[in-house]
């Protein structure tokens, strides 16, 4: 290496604008970037909230795609027999060569029943199952194609009609805040005047504090970032929870076509920051996708993993639970038998030795 430096210096000029001593590993982030772009990104977003809060419309608006093409909205009578379902839809979005494999996990039936006592056990099981599956794959022999289906972010939809959080909201968020990044969102924000919106946001933040709910916190901008980015981060942080409006319709307003909702008294523009926080939510999601994945990996997954390994038991693969329990039982019984045999052998040996000593040496 020293020779090559000398070689450059002797030449007196060099074609690359590199200073002597430059190794070149500063190029590493670019290589990582290129590899990631080639590999593509995976992101799983879960949406939770009662029926009619505009969840599907918002997701379609966020990603400018229709994730629910054959949707049928059930009536109240049909809803009676339903429990909470988990429905995952995956869509591949590509923009400027960057591929995103987005999975949206929907939870229809949440909060619909008269008695919603048990409505989120299904959701929690789903989140845990994804962690379990990842743990099993990670500990397996062939780790080349681990698919990451872990939930990276959960948008929790709060009704704008109430005076703050409902008891169900509080209970649910407390049950999942240690398993997934929770981003509270005020739905259908065009129901609220500006003052009502501010009051509601403050009320929700107070209640989140009061109940010790841990929502996802945007990391502060690094000190070496430019002022614009820092300011943007400040604004985003100050606007949580985001009050959003979604729409898939184009309306004519002020001479141009905008995405919005047409009322007799005016047009609500989805992408107008004075009307609602849709753009902020989208910006936050896109610029922090990487961070959301990291926090899921470093915090929530690690918590799950250490809890799980402490508890013990075999790491579940994608096998049904009953068979697994039987197998564990069988193994334990086999182990027990082996240990009993060993004890019996040891006892026999001790017996022999005892006899041997008493009667002199055996041949």
């Amino acid at each position: 290496l020293a020779q090559s430096y000398k070689h450059w210096n002797d030449q007196g000029q060099f074609t690359n604008p590199e200073t002597p001593g430059y190794v070149g590993f500063a190029n590493l982030p670019n290589q990582v970037h290129r590899k990631s772009v080639k590999k593509g990104f995976e992101f799983t977003l879960m949406v939770v909230g009662e029926s009619g809060l505009g969840k599907s419309t918002l997701i379609n608006s966020l990603f400018l795609t229709d994730l629910y093409p054959e949707r049928v909205i059930p009536g109240a009578a049909e809803k009676i027999e339903r429990t909470v379902q988990i429905e995952a839809s995956t869509v591949e979005i590509e923009e400027r060569g960057v591929k995103l494999r987005l999975t949206v996990v929907d939870t229809p039936g949440y909060g619909d029943a008269i008695n919603s006592q048990d409505c989120f056990s299904t959701i929690i099981s789903y989140i845990d199952d994804q962690f379990e599956r990842y743990l099993h794959d990670e500990s397996g022999l062939n780790r080349r194609h681990i698919v990451d289906n872990r939930v990276h972010c959960c948008f929790y939809f709060i009704s704008p009609l109430g005076h703050g959080l409902k008891p169900l909201d509080v209970q649910f968020m407390k049950a999942i805040h240690n398993k997934v990044n929770v981003v509270p969102v005020i739905a259908k924000a065009d129901t609220l005047t500006l003052r009502e919106r501010e009051r509601l946001k403050r009320r929700i933040l107070d209640e989140i504090d009061e109940h010790g709910i841990k929502i996802y916190h945007l990391p502060d901008a690094e000190s070496d970032e430019d002022e614009d980015f820092k300011e943007q981060t400040r604004i985003l942080k100050a606007s949580i929870p985001f009050a959003v409006v979604g729409s898939n319709q184009q309306i004519e307003a002020k001479g141009k076509k905008v995405r919005g909702r047409l009322y007799p008294w005016g047009v609500v523009e989805v992408e107008n920051p004075e009307h609602n926080d849709f753009l902020k939510l989208r910006t936050m999601l896109i610029t922090h996708m990487q961070d959301l994945q990291e926090v899921t990996q470093d915090l929530h997954y690690e918590n799950f993993r250490s809890d799980r390994l402490k508890r013990g038991g075999r790491l579940k693969g994608p096998e049904p639970e009953e068979m697994d329990k039987d197998m564990i039982l069988q193994e334990k019984e086999a182990e027990l038998r082996r240990m009993q045999e060993m004890i019996a052998k040891m006892q026999a040996q001790m017996q022999k030795q005892g006899d041997g000593e008493g009667e002199g040496q055996h041949v």
Binding site: G75, S116, S159, L161, K166, K188, T193, G266
Partner: protein, 337 residues
Amino acid sequence: MANTPRSRVNLLSKAISGTHSSTGGSTLLGYIGIDTIIEQMRKKTMKTGFDFNIMVVGHSGLGKSTLVNTLFKSQVSRRSAGWARDEKIPKTVEIKSVSHVIEEGGVKMKLTLVDTPGFGDQINNDNCWEPISKFINEQYEKFLKEEVNITRKKRIPDTRVHCCLYFISPTGHSLRQLDIEFMKRLSHSVNIIPIIAKADTMTTEERQEFKQRVRKELEMSGIEFYPQKEFDDDMEDKSDNDKIREAMPFAVVGSDKEYQVNGKRVLGRKTAWGVVEVENPNHCEFAQLRDFLIRSHLQDLKEVTHNIHYETYRAKRLNENGGLHPISSSDTQESNL
């Protein structure tokens, strides 16, 4: 021909209107002055005033208090949009009554608003309609006790619920299970008027679709809301009420704040994209609800409550006890409401 008290009053007024009616009476040979009875009734009513009891039911945040204040253009309910900092959702359904005397054009009305905080707000809302049902029956019981007394008061205080406004959440999808359960169970003991709350959440098309879906669900569940079809007497009533039933449930917006729009002061909600005018029929159906509830059917609500719902309760009660005798206080405590 139906001979309910409603139709009897109509016949009477028609006969008095001066035309020589064909209901079998003899023709009048001169002016007597029977028609002045209407004026006498009116004067009496103005002197005594009248009671109206309205109950609001719906989960928290649907604008119930604001709507009642808007309907009666006064601060009937102190719980309006300014939430108290320490206002918590009660753990069970509470029944809170507050009365005000309001006056208009020399007519005094004692308006009682019965609020039901806590309804539908819990995680487990099983049977949350029971305290409400119990309250309604208790008022019937109170009235019955007074009626059956040997020495009766000149004017029995009427605390019976004349009208129950049921607030439907504007999800845009369909009714919720709780909505159907409540209305099914209570539509036979009280006049239920379902309304779609906070209608400024929906565009005009969304509102129409939602209304249609809700009406179909109400029909499928056999819920008879006020004005009930079975109590329509004559064709005139029926056609008026048919029109109203077609337009129900009314999608309303309430507000107690005024804003300047096109040079006029209007009640409304001001947003960054426009002002929602409460009394503008293009914006919402508040004006229709108000006209229906107050300007045309206020008396009818009271009559149906007294002649039908109360009578049903009374018949059931008297059949239980086996006969008309003054009910002592010990009996009412044992009776299972």
